[in-house]
Symmetry: C2
Subunit: 211 residues, 2 copies
DNA sequence: TAATCAATATACCCGTGAGTATAGAAAATA
DNA sequence: TATTTTCTATACTCACGGGTATATTGATTA
């Protein structure tokens, strides 16, 4: 009889696992609240008091879940970088010619840049991080950049991409697809997917008319 | 005889005009020093004490020439915006088809974005400005954006540009050509003109191989 | 039941940095 | 020469915000 009660009504008594999950959830809530404010007002202009207030708690609560302000930012950035890494992995498993695979990745890349955590990756400049964090940050962004260059190189090799300068092509793509992190309104009429599609079409096709 | 001395040796006595020019020069020096530090470390992370120290003067000296910290930033941004407006004017006087005129402007645009003051326009986000300044800032950036859209529309109309979505094309171009403000090293091996050329070639030609 | 631990709050400390009050030197003007 | 103006420094005020010391409560474990 006591065993049966488990799935019925939500018991106010939490098991150890539930407590661990609660903790994770709260940590996550702090990060979500923080990243929104960082994106909206900038890191320096956002105080942890503000973040705490927006969650209806006090500052020490944040310190209970995260070490200090920089770590809050670092965790947010890491969430975004993780999404990018996943996108790269998904792309590696993708068939097709270089251009197709590149397009596949760019579509994900652009959309991530319109996500709260992805935006944060773009909007965070290394100067605000400690040297140590900045180094790691740079390294992980470089990983992504190199991945894009590989895809472009692959496309050039198999003829699906014009013989462009790989380095500059990756800069041009990154710039164009990072920019929405600054102008795209999450609650605007265009979905991230639509924005991504439109931008990528232009980048692939170019401005000059096709013969 | 006294008249003749004017152009000979630089007199330690300054005329009224010279004094006005001295003042301008100092003001300008403050802005140059400030914009460099803003670009390097970010606006919030730069104190006016630091700026003053880098010029070998004290903070009140800065306040003597400029009202307050925000005004320092606003003036820097205005310098950049002025360069952009000049570039637009020069382009208006330019002959040729839409694509040629667009290319002409983009070349200037991209280079300005690698200049100290131009960088500052890109790197300054409105959130750090007072509502009033932010509004003016947004308006002047919008001017530039509309100008680019006009050029693209012109090119589409005269057939020199493919029938792209004008709005997204301008976003894609802006993003790609703003990005160097964040990665281009002024003392690196590539000159701004070379960077601009390379990026623009890719944007106009697109990634897909030409038939 | 006692002792411990997790979670949260209140109230504080303290450094930084924007902005100012004041004074003094040098030059310009009367 | 006396007076005012320009330029600059020293030395301050004050608010903000990161971070912490400490107390409280409720649940967990011994």
């Amino acid at each position: 009889m006591p065993k049966l009660a488990s799935a019925e009504a939500p018991s106010p008594f939490r098991t150890r696992d539930e407590r661990v999950r609660d903790r994770e959830e709260k940590r996550e809530a702090v990060l979500r609240a923080a990243v929104r404010m960082f994106n909206a007002r900038g890191y320096h202009a956002t105080s942890l008091d503000d973040v705490a207030a927006s969650l209806g708690v006090s500052k020490p609560t944040i310190y209970h879940y995260l070490g200090n302000k920089e770590q809050v930012l670092v965790e947010c950035v890491n969430r975004g970088l993780e999404m990018l890494r996943d996108a790269a992995d998904a792309t590696r498993a993708q068939p097709g010619k270089g251009l197709d695979r590149l397009r596949y990745f760019l579509l994900l890349y652009a959309q991530i840049n319109m996500d709260d955590f992805g935006r944060c990756v773009i909007r965070t400049n290394e100067e605000v991080l400690s040297m140590d964090s900045a180094t790691r940050f740079r390294a992980r962004k470089r990983e992504i950049d190199l991945f894009v260059r590989d895809l472009i190189g692959e496309g050039v090799a198999d003829g699906s991409i014009a013989p462009v300068d790989v380095r500059f092509a990756s800069f041009a793509l990154a710039g164009a697809l990072n920019w929405p992190a600054r102008w795209h309104a999450p609650d605007g009429p265009m979905t991230p997917a639509q924005v991504a599609d439109s931008l990528i079409a232009i980048l692939i096709g170019g401005l000059a008319p096709r013969a």
